[in-house]
């Protein structure tokens, strides 16, 4: 019997998810022995034509990492969807939009203006912008279209499972692949990590007091952090209570607070709203200006509460982007 065929692909991603596969170390040998790797552009030389040539549904599973921002990524996601029995959103960007998703606060034009003109390291006297097509020496060059917003993989194609994390841990990857190989699969649509928030497995859990009030919020780079005490007890914003566990609390173990890459639990629609609710309700002030003064300790609410999940949140993107889009469609 043929070994199951497996593919890996990346969209708007930093490459960390690809590294995560390499991080499987010796386990990777066991896996490659059990499957046929038929598509992995970052490691092996495959082309789109190779995928087109495969019969529909011929791959057992494809792991796609990265958010979706360009027309090419949409095309590849759709293509791989057709060729594969299971599509697994691999990592925070594919699942929730991830760090690239923070771009959803800004319009496409303002992003391009900054990247091609505004950034201090850029010299672009002719104010050149990338265009989808250009003619040069009788040749036509094309680029994929840069979409108006960042999307999660599920907003483009149907996704069977989600493997969370920035990046997913080797342990979660191995158990996901084992589940696929053995057919012991959870219900479709599941996130392949525990549905309990991170505090459950955080080594600092015991040090969190029952009565907690925030008189000030401190930022990690501006404070010296105790290496054993709960971050929230130190006034440092830690997304752990609002974030799905399963990461083995790697960040707290390295004396950094959780930033939320595993996304919300299944009971929550909007990770940021929930963390905002919990933290601000416990602010130790009553008067408007005092409350504002404490909350000012969180200078960037979107970047803090939605660091990985803005495109998957209830509002998805800034209403200003929406206004532009509405105008265009009129």
């Amino acid at each position: 019997m043929d070994k199951p065929k497996i593919g890996f692909y990346w969209c708007a991603s930093c490459g960390g998810c690809e590294e995560a596969i390499v991080d499987l170390a010796e386990d990777i040998l066991r896996i490659t022995a059990a499957v046929d790797l038929v598509f992995w552009p970052v490691a092996l030389d495959f082309k789109k034509e190779d995928v087109l040539a495969m019969p529909n549904g011929s791959m057992a599973a494809v792991f796609i990492n990265g958010a979706v921002r360009t027309s090419e990524q949409e095309e590849m996601a759709s293509l791989l969807r057709a060729k594969s029995q299971f599509v697994i959103a691999f990592g925070a960007c594919a699942q929730l939009g991830g760090i690239p998703g923070l771009a959803n606060q800004f319009s496409r034009d303002s992003i391009l203006n900054y990247v091609y003109d505004g950034a201090p390291t850029v010299v672009n006297e002719k104010h050149v912008r990338p265009s989808v097509r250009c003619e040069d020496n009788n040749r036509t060059l094309t680029l994929p279209e840069f979409r108006s917003v960042v999307r999660t993989l599920e907003q483009i194609v149907h996704v069977d499972y989600f493997l969370p994390g920035c990046p997913p841990t080797p342990r979660l990857i191995t158990s996901a692949i084992d589940a696929l190989l053995t057919g012991k699969l959870p219900p479709p649509g599941s996130v392949l990590a525990p549905d309990v928030a991170l505090c459950d497995q955080c080594p600092r859990k015991k040090s969190k007091p029952e009565q907690i009030r925030f008189a000030a919020f401190k930022r990690p780079h501006l404070t010296s952090m105790d290496s054993d005490l709960c971050f929230l007890a130190q006034g440092v914003v830690c997304m752990g209570p609002a974030t799905r566990g399963g990461c083995e609390a790697l960040c707290p173990a390295a004396n950094m607070p959780c930033t939320g890459c595993f996304g919300p639990t299944s009971r929550v629609h909007d990770q940021g709203a929930k963390m905002l609710s919990s933290l601000s309700a416990a602010v130790d002030a009553k008067e408007s200006d005092q409350v504002d003064a404490v909350l000012a300790g969180i200078p960037d609410p979107v970047g803090t509460f939605y660091r990985y999940a803005l495109p998957a949140s209830l509002l998805r993107f800034s209403a200003n982007i929406g206004s532009a889009a509405v105008k265009e469609t009129l």
């Binding site: 459950d200 009565q211 929930k274």
Partner: protein
């Protein structure tokens, strides 16, 4: 739970006579509801809350095997219980029900039929989506502590306390002043029968003192109330009286012996028209009949350098204890009756009437003391000059029915003034004129009392008095107080010279009514009167279960009405106690143990300390007996692991979606 196949909802929209159907197209609402998911029956009916209306629900549940019910009618605060009972009568769990408010929130506030109907439909859609997620719930029954606290020892508080005590219940009666009796104790006679106020009040005051079921705490205030219906913990502050009221026999020897040979401090009971010493008994019939020492005036308490002749005079009885300290006592009660009364309007706020500037302008309560046989003049009515008055005028509605001060009618001043007018006529033969806007005499025997006033020669001039001054424009005005008033029946401006002007001051909420309201978690009307749960159907109940109101703290009223309310409040408290328990809305929050990460974020947010941390399981737990169902913890749980019965996240999300359904 929300598997659509199994949901069978019955929907009912009420016309409420014409109250709803005049503005909302009820048939259109019923037609719309019939198109919504899960709706098996959709009806409109004239009066859903009537017996046939409730029967309709019961029948449909049986006939159509309904497992959810939605009624669109009035406010759930009014009839939710009615319909839950109807649902239960059909054999269904009463919480598989949702109510839609299309009367108070729709038909009564909108005029545009199309817009009001669309709004009703959206609200109905919300309820039908929401009810599909409802779970069967069990109301918990809280036991009722049988003891009752009555706050305020005026006639209302006294009557409520005696009624309860006579029924065998233990009552704590807490009064702020050193004696019970309230305003009524200051009155000479009572209308319309003109029987002596003291003769009907003092026996009740003594009965309070001697009743074995009443704990009387005067000179005391309610400092704090915790808990909930059936189970209140009340902290009472007992101010230092410096006299042990159980040892004091009221012999007054200490008062006679006080180093102040003559009384020199204004006596509040007589409104400063007589004087008292630093040690005093508030008034002759005071209960308890025990002296009290004013720490701001007693030399010993102020400076520690007094001969303490009072202590000497008390001798072996040892009732005087100058080291007494304020005490905070904690009691447990199941229900509370608030009868904290009113305060009189300060006539100085209307300077045009000259109160405080002209000695012979006084208020009705001051006149009351002057004509009282126990008053500062022994009942003899004299002007400040010592002469008897020959012409007396009463100005009604001082601080009532007035846009500048208080808009409300104080209800008692017409009758009170006529009573005093008759007494003045009788005692002095003076000419008496009553200046009024309307004479309001709506009680039993009251109109007859007005007739009697007329027969006794009391003059009535209809018109709002412009001013009282002492400037004379003619010789017959010289040395008199002159009232200028537009006589609206005769149609000209009158100048009426008088030698005594009596201001019928109205009633206002107590100065600290807001504080009391907060302590007891009640609501107040915009004017500051304690708010009854329903003006007609629940006149002595409040929005806080187990807290009742009686007397003038709810609004101005006379003695018969205050006593009637006090009796009603006592009966409500008795009904609660004798029922043995009360069903509580099962809207408590709960933690889904397997989902909780033990982050403890919720624990400090709970106002009732109902959430604790289970150190063994490393999860938070909510004690349902302590949870009051506010839902703050639910809104805060960062991992969505706290649910709230009747207000689950998903139920609210469905409601949000529903209200945004635009047909």
């Amino acid at each position: 739970m929300s598997n659509d196949e199994s949901i069978r909802t019955g929907f009912y929209v009420c016309h409420c006579g014409h109250n709803i159907s005049d503005v909302v197209d009820c048939t259109a609402v019923a037609r719309y509801a019939s198109t919504l998911a899960g709706v098996m029956v959709s009806r409109d009916y004239k009066y859903m809350c009537s017996s046939p209306g409730q029967e309709l629900i019961r029948q449909d549940i049986l006939e159509h095997k309904l497992n959810r019910v939605v009624v669109a009618s009035c406010s759930p605060l009014l009839h939710e219980h009615t319909f839950r009972n109807a649902v239960a009568a059909g054999g269904l769990n009463p919480f598989l029900f949702q109510m839609v408010n299309i009367r108070e929130h729709d038909a009564w506030v909108h005029a545009d039929r199309a817009a009001a109907t669309a709004k009703a439909q959206a609200l109905v859609s919300a309820a039908i989506r929401r009810v599909a997620l409802h779970k069967p719930l069990q109301a918990t029954r809280a036991p009722i502590h049988p003891d009752v606290l009555v706050v305020g020892g005026g006639i209302a508080g006294i009557h409520a306390a005696l009624t309860l005590a006579n029924a065998g219940k233990k009552v704590y009666l807490v009064e702020r002043q050193p004696s019970i009796g309230g305003h009524m104790a200051q009155f000479d006679k009572t209308f319309p029968t003109l029987d002596c106020a003291a003769c009907i009040l003092t026996p009740k005051m003594s009965a309070v003192r001697s009743h074995k079921n009443i704990v009387l705490w005067t000179y005391s205030e309610v400092a704090k109330v915790d808990g909930y219906v059936g189970n209140y913990t009340v902290t009472v502050r007992r101010k230092a009286r410096y006299v042990d009221e159980n040892l004091c026999v009221g012999c007054q020897e200490c008062i006679d012996a006080c180093v102040f040979k003559v009384p020199k401090f204004p006596d509040p009971f007589n409104l400063g028209m007589s004087m008292q010493k630093p040690i005093y008994i508030p008034f002759p019939q005071a209960v308890p009949q025990a002296a009290v020492i004013d720490p701001d005036r007693c030399i010993q308490l102020k400076t520690g350098k007094c001969k303490k002749t009072c202590v000497e005079a008390c001798a072996d009885r040892k009732a005087i204890n100058l080291n007494q300290k304020e005490q905070l006592l904690e009691i447990k009660v199941g229900s509370i009756i608030t009868a904290t009364g009113f305060k009189l309007f300060d006539a100085k706020r209307l300077p045009e009437y000259g109160y405080g500037r002209y000695p012979d302008v006084m208020t009705t309560i001051e006149l009351e003391r002057l004509v009282s046989s126990s008053g500062p003049t022994g009942g003899e009515l004299r002007l400040r000059s010592g002469k008897p008055p020959t012409a007396v005028g009463f100005i009604l509605c001082v601080g009532s029915r007035d846009m500048r001060t208080n808009r409300w009618c104080s209800r008692t001043c017409c009758m009170h003034s006529m009573k005093l007018a008759q007494i003045v006529r009788e005692r002095t033969g003076a000419q008496v004129t009553v200046f009024y806007i309307d004479i309001r005499a709506p009680g039993k025997g009251y109109e007859e009392f007005y007739d009697r006033s007329l027969q006794q020669g009391v003059q009535f001039v209809r018109g709002r008095v412009a001013e009282v001054s002492d400037c004379a424009l003619s010789p017959d005005e010289a040395g008199k107080l002159v009232i200028r008033v537009e006589d609206t029946l005769a149609g000209f401006v009158r100048r009426v010279p008088l030698d005594l002007v009596v201001l019928a001051v109205g009633m206002e909420p107590q100065a600290d009514a807001q504080e009391m309201r907060r302590i007891l978690n009640m609501s107040c009307s915009a004017e500051g009167w304690f708010l009854e749960k329903h003006p007609k159907m629940a006149p002595v109940s409040t929005f806080t279960d187990g807290v009742f109101i009686a007397g003038c703290c709810q609004g101005p009223k006379d003695i018969p009405d205050s006593i009637a309310q006090a009796g009603a409040a006592a009966a409500e408290a008795l009904a609660l106690i004798d029922a043995g328990g009360i069903d509580q809305e099962p809207n408590t929050a709960y933690i889904r143990g397997e989902e909780c990460s033990g982050c403890k974020s919720c624990i400090s947010l709970c106002p009732y300390a109902a959430i604790s941390f289970d150190a063994e399981k490393q999860k938070a737990v909510i004690n349902p007996a302590l949870c009051k169902g506010c839902g703050t913890c639910v809104a805060s749980c960062p991992s969505g692991s706290i649910g709230q019965n009747l207000f689950e996240d998903q139920e609210v999300f469905e409601e949000i979606n529903g209200v945004l359904d635009y047909v």
